[in-house]
């Protein structure tokens, strides 16, 4: 079966430091793939390469077989790849519902430019998505007044509004309190399953990875050190030493 996303022989370096050194990876429909690794190992670069924010020195990225290596982030977003950032990227001075409606309306055509942004159908869809991630009660709040966990969820909901086939998440639980972490992940997983969205996520929290990922890539110095089901990967001594810090 053809993977949704396939990266082949990616090479990229920043100031001589290799973030990807001939790496190839793929993600298949329905997977929830986690990338773990030490700080500075190049994990976020993978997401940037897949969404057009960074272009590789060599190698290619394919979405459903189509080469997207040189496409702009906007073009890749339009092909069905959405992104949620480590620091939530929101229109901070706008209401939660407005962030959602902007995302829902972003890809509409030129001829609807003069129509109202706020339509009944768009509002209903926005509210449904907010309900899906547990933010229904926050819809009229200004987004920069939300607690960090809710801002993360809103960032994810904004990405879901793009109706992606593939969602890339950069540390979805970072900056979130221990109490909020698993409710956030449950809300996220529920939304992904309901909408049948494949996901690739970078994460530091091994409990989160162990519980939710069905495959793990261990990134180290621009290479994949290990790959497999979390149960197997977390038994690997090299992984435990380099990522978890267990001797």
């Amino acid at each position: 079966m053809q993977p949704i996303l396939e990266a082949k022989d990616l090479h990229v370096a920043f100031n001589g430091v290799k973030a990807a050194d001939g790496v190839s990876l793929s993600i298949h429909d329905g997977e929830f793939l986690a990338i773990i690794g030490p700080n500075g190992s190049g994990k976020t670069t993978v997401l940037n390469l897949c969404t057009g924010y960074v272009r590789p020195k060599s190698g290619s990225v394919h979405l459903d077989g189509q080469d997207i290596t040189r496409l702009a982030p906007r073009a890749i977003a339009r092909l069905g790849v959405a992104r949620a950032f480590q620091i939530p990227q929101l229109f901070s001075d706008q209401r939660v519902i407005d962030n959602m409606m902007l995302s829902l309306a972003a890809k509409d055509g030129l001829w609807t430019m003069m129509r109202p942004l706020e339509t009944e159908a768009r509002r209903a869809e926005a509210e449904a998505l907010l309900g899906l991630v547990g933010l229904a009660d926050d819809k009229n709040r200004i987004s920069n007044t939300l607690p960090e966990g809710h801002r993360k969820l809103l960032d994810i909901a904004v990405a879901l509004a793009l109706k992606p086939r593939l969602l890339l998440l950069d540390e979805p639980t970072s900056g979130v309190s221990a109490l909020e972490r698993f409710p956030l992940m449950e809300a996220l997983m529920g939304a992904l399953r309901q909408r049948q969205i494949t996901a690739l996520f970078v994460e530091h929290d091994m409990d989160v990875v162990a519980r939710y990922a069905n495959r793990v890539l261990v990134w180290n110095a621009g290479n994949i050190m290990a790959e497999g089901h979390p149960d197997e990967v977390f038994k690997d001594q090299r992984v435990l030493q380099s990522v978890v810090g267990v001797a």
Partner: protein
């Protein structure tokens, strides 16, 4: 007293309306694209030339003079549809993110080209067709005979302010423009076609400039040099209101209009200086303009 006050107020409002048209497009383009378009005044004068040419054609063919009102609006749409996308894609897009000095040099080059282009296409003679003014006639207000066309101009300015406000706050285009202004990268990441937004916003700015020139033409005609005069005045108004502030441009236009008319009524020799004296006073008190802020970026 009322014999002076009412005409003075009406003259101020009419003057403010024309000044507002000259400045609002400049401030809109700056707010969205962060580009100081020095060629803005040329777009105003091209709007006036196109309007004058069409109105003169209507008169020469003895068509219904009411068509001249359609011609004023059509001129602005025509100029915006042709020059807006053309200038944005060929020149303005290269100035995004560049320093103000580069932007000013490039748009000043564009200004020089457009000024020469106008001389080539329309010649160096003045053009004037006042059919819209004649059609609307006059009224007596406070014992003073007043051109109804000036009241029409005030109404048009109010309509543009309300229209722009509605467009920005309620339409999909306006909300996408606001999103791009707030965070260009975020807008791109959710799939907003920022290039398309830039073209539309710049063309809207060109439309407003050309509409200003077209509406002013029946009262003052159009002649070489109008672009430069308008550009300087538009910058003064935009600076008073705060660059990028549409409401600021409206209030600044009122201030400049009042200053200008007060000068004409009481010290006519200071007519040309009055707008810049008003700018000086405002900027001494508020260096970022009435509605401007050091970091805020609102439209």
């Amino acid at each position: 007293m009322s014999n002076t006050v009412i005409p003075l107020l009406l003259d101020s409002l009419a003057s403010a309306a024309l000044i507002f048209f000259a400045a609002v497009g400049l401030t809109l383009v700056f707010s969205v694209l962060r580009v100081l378009n020095v060629a803005h005044g040329s777009l105003y004068s091209i709007g006036a030339y196109v309007a004058a040419s069409i109105c003169l054609f209507i008169a020469s063919r003895q068509l219904s003079p009411y068509l001249s009102f359609v011609a004023l609006l059509f001129s602005a749409v025509f100029v915006a549809a042709i020059l807006g996308p053309l200038i944005e894609r060929t020149l303005i897009r290269w100035t995004y993110g560049k320093s103000e000095a580069v932007q000013i040099l490039i748009t000043f080059g564009l200004f020089l080209m457009l000024e020469d282009l106008q001389r080539m296409v329309f010649g160096v003679q003045s053009l004037y067709e006042d059919a819209p003014v004649r059609l609307l006639g006059t009224s007596q207000i406070g014992g003073v005979v007043y051109l109804n066309y000036q009241i029409f101009l005030i109404g048009m300015a109010v309509l543009v302010v309300i229209g722009l406000r509605m467009l920005i706050r309620h339409t999909r285009l306006g909300r996408l423009i606001t999103a791009v202004v707030a965070d260009r990268e975020m807008a791109q990441s959710i799939g907003i076609d920022t290039n398309r937004i830039f073209i539309l916003a710049f063309s809207l700015g060109v439309f407003l400039a050309a509409l200003g020139g077209a509406l002013a033409m029946p009262t003052s005609g159009v002649a070489p040099g109008l672009g430069a005069d308008t550009m300087v005045l538009a910058f003064a108004v935009a600076a008073i209101g705060g660059l990028g502030q549409i409401e600021g441009a409206a209030v600044a236009a009122l201030i400049v209009g009042l200053a200008r008319v007060l000068a004409i009524y009481f010290v006519p020799s200071l007519d040309a200086v009055a707008p810049y004296a008003a700018m000086l006073v405002v900027l001494l008190i508020r260096p970022y303009g009435l509605f401007g802020a050091v970091t805020a970026r609102r439209i």
